[in-house]
Subunit: 312 residues, 3 copies
């Protein structure tokens, strides 16, 4: 019998059926956690070990994966900065690392600076690989929690009008989200709002064109705000710019605060993958449309559901 290993590496691979099953599992996880009914949960993945191999810094992604694993009764082996403290400094290939680590644990969660990280890893690994962010191209589990949050609050994923704001060129969350929302659901309309030097990359636009998704590019945030169901803000990621000058051109152009959040529809939502810096003024943290902290919390439930999915 051939047992397929369930890798989670590219947002394009998600279909509606998979998403809806996962979301209903995540609902159940949320219900059990919130009701304080945790002892049943801890039987779910008892005896399983997860390795987190992070070649780039992270707090919330790594911590939510680790918390998810512990809530389900599993254990965790962790590298905070694999590129500095592991065999990578000695020149080992990622393939070799994966081959060996997959002999020790039951699932590997990996964040890597290389866009193509998943390719070699997936062929070699004897256990499921979960991509926790690769290069500037993919962050599929972030997309899962983004979609879960949209679906949960807006009641569905069909016909969503969304503005993606910030560094769309270097941001991986907006790309993964475009793939799924654009490619797998009907009636999606996307507004790309970005600085001139940080526009959404062509491969995504081509993909959306092929899928006949309506999209528009603009640098006028306030004009877009009244039109959408969801504003998806992202950080201008200093660490991904080639130089300070380019960063300075891009930063600070788009900010959500009390002066413009009211332009959004009454029941529209403001999301952000976090960490946020000055693109969202803390004064709107308590605005009813601001859902980014709820979105971050959903990361726990969605990753619990995901770990259960790949390990059973």
């Amino acid at each position: 019998m051939f047992l397929m290993i369930k890798h989670i590496v590219r947002a394009q691979d998600f279909d509606e059926g998979f998403l809806m099953d996962l979301f209903s599992e995540a609902d159940e996880m949320r219900r059990l956690i919130k009701s304080g009914n945790r002892s049943t949960l801890r039987k779910t993945l008892e005896g399983n070990i997860m390795a987190t191999l992070f070649y780039e810094p992270s707090t919330r992604t790594r911590m939510s994966f680790e918390a998810a694993m512990y809530r389900l009764g599993g254990n965790v082996i962790s590298t905070e900065n694999a590129s500095e403290f592991s065999s990578a400094v000695k020149g080992e290939t990622l393939e070799d690392t994966i081959r060996v680590v997959s002999g020790y644990v039951d699932v590997i969660v990996i964040r890597h600076y290389d866009d193509e990280v998943d390719k070699g890893a997936v062929d070699i690994s004897r256990v499921p690989i979960i991509n926790a962010g690769s290069g500037q191209g993919q962050h599929p589990t972030q997309t899962l929690l983004d979609l879960y949050t949209i679906n949960d609050i807006l009641g569905g994923l069909q016909g969503i009008k969304i503005a993606m704001v910030g560094d769309l060129k270097r941001g991986r969350t907006v790309k993964s989200l475009s793939y799924v929302l654009g490619g797998k659901f009907n009636g999606t309309e996307i507004y790309f709002v970005s600085p001139e030097n940080s526009k959404m990359s062509d491969n995504i636009k081509d993909y959306l064109n092929r899928k006949k998704v309506k999209w528009e590019e603009t640098s006028n945030l306030n004009e877009v705000l009244p039109l959408v169901d969801c504003v998806y803000m992202t950080r201008i990621q200093k660490e991904r710019f080639d130089n300070e000058e380019e960063y300075n051109k891009a930063k600070g152009q788009f900010v959500m605060d009390n002066s413009n959040i009211g332009f959004m529809k009454d029941n529209a939502i403001l999301l952000h993958p976090l960490p946020k810096i000055n693109e969202i003024n803390p004064e709107i943290n308590t605005n009813k449309r601001s859902k980014y902290f709820e979105q971050a919390e959903n990361g726990l439930y969605v990753r619990m559901a995901l770990l259960k999915h790949v390990l059973s």
Copy 2:
């Protein structure tokens, strides 16, 4: 019903009742660990997750918290150097980090370079925050194990004559200890013994004056030794000095060794929060008055008691 979250952030908040309850719990923890009776203990915090967010290096504080959590059956999510490997490098505020992490775990232990770290964090967190050292001002859980050790060996906390030695200006343990021993117990007398450029800060002296605690400042260690029940040595912390020159002025002035430990009373005790470098000569490690290793071990029992306290 309003459930108060039990944060542990400032030594000034401890009162005698709290301390005595905690110490008797710590006694029980010590008894159970030493008797090898560990399986009961592991039910105590089963299913709970602790996050340790350390923005400054530490071995014993982090490790004793983590060991404490495991001994009680809980799990741990850990950042060894949050300032380098987490969202902090991307510019996220501590408030945002706390808000998100407190959605994943049941208690947060934080060490931070900022004196005021507790303020924002406490208002925002949905779970208990334990301050594992903040800036140059507070190290409340160290104070708990210091007091536990003094109480355990000297038989009480009233009327303690204590010499605090070393870098009193930049050291946080001596400040937290002064707050509690000076402010909450009768008859305390404190001798501050420090280099000229490392004297105890005025806010502590003012506090002691308001509380009518007797204190004295001196640079003659040997004269003080015969007068006290406890010598509390601290390290001249190179990393906290503005420059090498100032450090060189301060270092090496006060050393305990075979030449002067005999000046202490026969039943007086020598404590040190550790790590120690040359301020204590290893030749006195086995002297009957040297209790710093016992003190460090007590950290485990006191932190077990503390975790049980805040989580139940």
Copy 3:
């Protein structure tokens, strides 16, 4: 009653009886893991805590120890880079660190840059110390899994003809392996194949001479290949060379690939402690003689057996 603490610090201390007992335990661990029968295993070390103190980077050694501990039901407290993030930066001696940490946990696994790390540590620790690599001289647990693999595939450890290839001067695995294979088993013959500036150190050669073990030094790898049962390749470790020039002299001289692996006997095996870089061409990863990934996996079973041994 005097209870001896079972430290694992020097390969010279292993004898045949110990090895065979350990290997049969490791066989059992492998059988239970491979058969998916994990729940029994998790009772083995329930409630035990292991601290990993790594003063040098590592992936596979640390991770396999941690996975081993979790598979047996224990817990882990970990420092990825102790020399940077712990009290070591404040100038604390290793002795003090060990003394304190051994009050918190049940076993300490330590990797250190100092050859003599074990000496002080062992005298002081109240719990078993396992040396996970010290200086350029010892890596006893690597030797255990090397020997386990040789014994498992070649059917015994007597009369083994082995070629050790690469940086023999700075490599610790080949030294630990020479001690045991040369000193504890009959009929061993060793070929040392290394660059001119990286020859096996004299203390090992002297040891082998005293034990009357046949050894030979050469720089002609291909001539040796047909003669041996096992080729033990090692990496030229850039980080251990005094300067780039010396490294450049040594690197790239000995490579195993499709052009020469066929020179080996049909049933001979190729091992490598990993990480490997260009000394093994990935094209031979699937050659039937290449056993280095199996060898790495065996690290899990051997370390499980070892942890059980020292903790019971």
